[in-house]
């Protein structure tokens, strides 16, 4: 372990942990509003460490959706990590198995982006550097989750301070983040229409799966463009 590398990694991640803090707090507050205890929210942050999917899980739990659908949705939202872990393989191949376990557990969007950047620039991606970067995001994520949970418990009714509206807006922002992808508009239109129709006909648990599958089938059926694929996994 190199202390200098660890500190360098942690420094690099410091601004990110500041910008992630509101989302940790948002998760904690929303989790409590949707019926999780602070302890459960904390365990979820400790074991998943993936903000968007944690919020999706909480939202679906609030809608009383079947557990296996919730788990599947969490998997779907986190699916992008498969591309990330494939892309960073060349730079972490020399890690020990235990180090690899930790490495992939801590793999987040910024961690992926910075690791790839460092590796492609010819810099050495050491485990110390990676760990410093990762822990600088992981530890504050836990702290802000608990703080948000305590805050949410003090507030009581989330509608009173408008927390309830933040979740759909947050998901909308995530959707918009994919707008450069192939078939974005048709997929969103199809999934949106199917989920709304599903919501009003077969009811709440199923509109999520129906909408998601409809969008995927449409994407598979549309003519395959010669897109940049994931550009050798460089999608950041």
């Amino acid at each position: 372990m190199s202390k200098a590398d660890f500190i360098q990694g942690a420094r690099l991640a410091a601004p990110l942990c500041v910008s992630a803090a509101p989302f940790g707090a948002l998760f904690g507050a929303v989790a409590v509003a949707n019926g999780q205890t602070i302890a459960e929210a904390a365990v979820m942050s400790l074991t998943l460490f993936a903000g968007a999917s944690q919020l999706v899980g909480i939202e679906l739990f609030g809608q009383k959706i079947a557990p296996w659908v919730i788990v599947l949705s969490i998997f779907a939202v986190n699916f992008r990590h498969i591309l990330y872990s494939a892309a960073i393989v060349p730079y972490v191949r020399h890690f020990t198995p235990v180090q690899k376990f930790v490495t992939f557990f801590l793999l987040t969007d910024p961690q992926f982006a910075e690791t790839l950047k460092r590796g492609e620039a010819g810099g050495e991606v050491s485990f110390s550097w990676y760990l410093g970067f990762g822990l600088m995001i992981y530890v504050p994520w836990q702290v802000t989750t608990v703080l948000g949970g305590i805050f949410g418990q003090l507030i009581g009714d989330p509608k009173l301070i408008g927390i309830d509206v933040l979740l759909p807006i947050y998901f909308m922002a995530l959707v918009l983040g994919f707008r450069k992808r192939a078939n974005f508009l048709p997929v969103v239109a199809m999934s949106g229409a199917a989920s709304v129709i599903g919501y009003h006909t077969i009811g709440s648990p199923w509109h999520v799966s129906v909408g998601a599958v409809a969008g995927m089938l449409l994407a598979a059926a549309l003519p395959v463009k010669r897109q940049a694929k994931h550009g050798g996994g460089k999608e950041a």
């Binding site: 205890t37 999917s53 793999l107 301070i161 922002a173």
Partner: protein, 104 residues
């Protein structure tokens, strides 16, 4: 367990944690033995995140009250120019304004 943890919730969290870790290590596992993904399968997989997330947004809009609809519309317009946090702030201000000034 008791008041701190609920068994069903803990099972969901455990399942979610395993699912998440599988996605994180999945690319590493695949790349050591993968050939190529069929293009249509890749197109479908590529559509997964937007498709799933849209199902959480669209019903929230169409079943929401005017307060929620105005807030989401305002945030959508804000997103053309602003990043995530300011966008959330715009939506939040809109919903609070609707609730407290217009009683929506």
């Amino acid at each position: 367990m008791g008041a701190w943890f609920n068994t069903e919730m803990m099972l969901i969290i455990l399942g979610g944690a395993i699912a998440t870790f599988l996605t994180r290590i999945g690319g590493y596992v695949l790349i050591t033995q993968m050939k190529t993904i069929p293009p249509r399968l890749e197109a479908a997989l590529n559509a997964v995140p937007a498709a799933v997330l849209t199902t959480l947004v669209a019903p929230a809009f169409f079943t929401g009250g005017p307060d929620v609809q105005v807030a989401m519309a305002a945030a959508l317009i804000a997103s053309l120019r602003l990043s995530m946090l300011p966008m959330l702030a715009v939506g939040w201000c809109a919903v609070m304004a609707m609730r407290y000034w217009f009683g929506a």
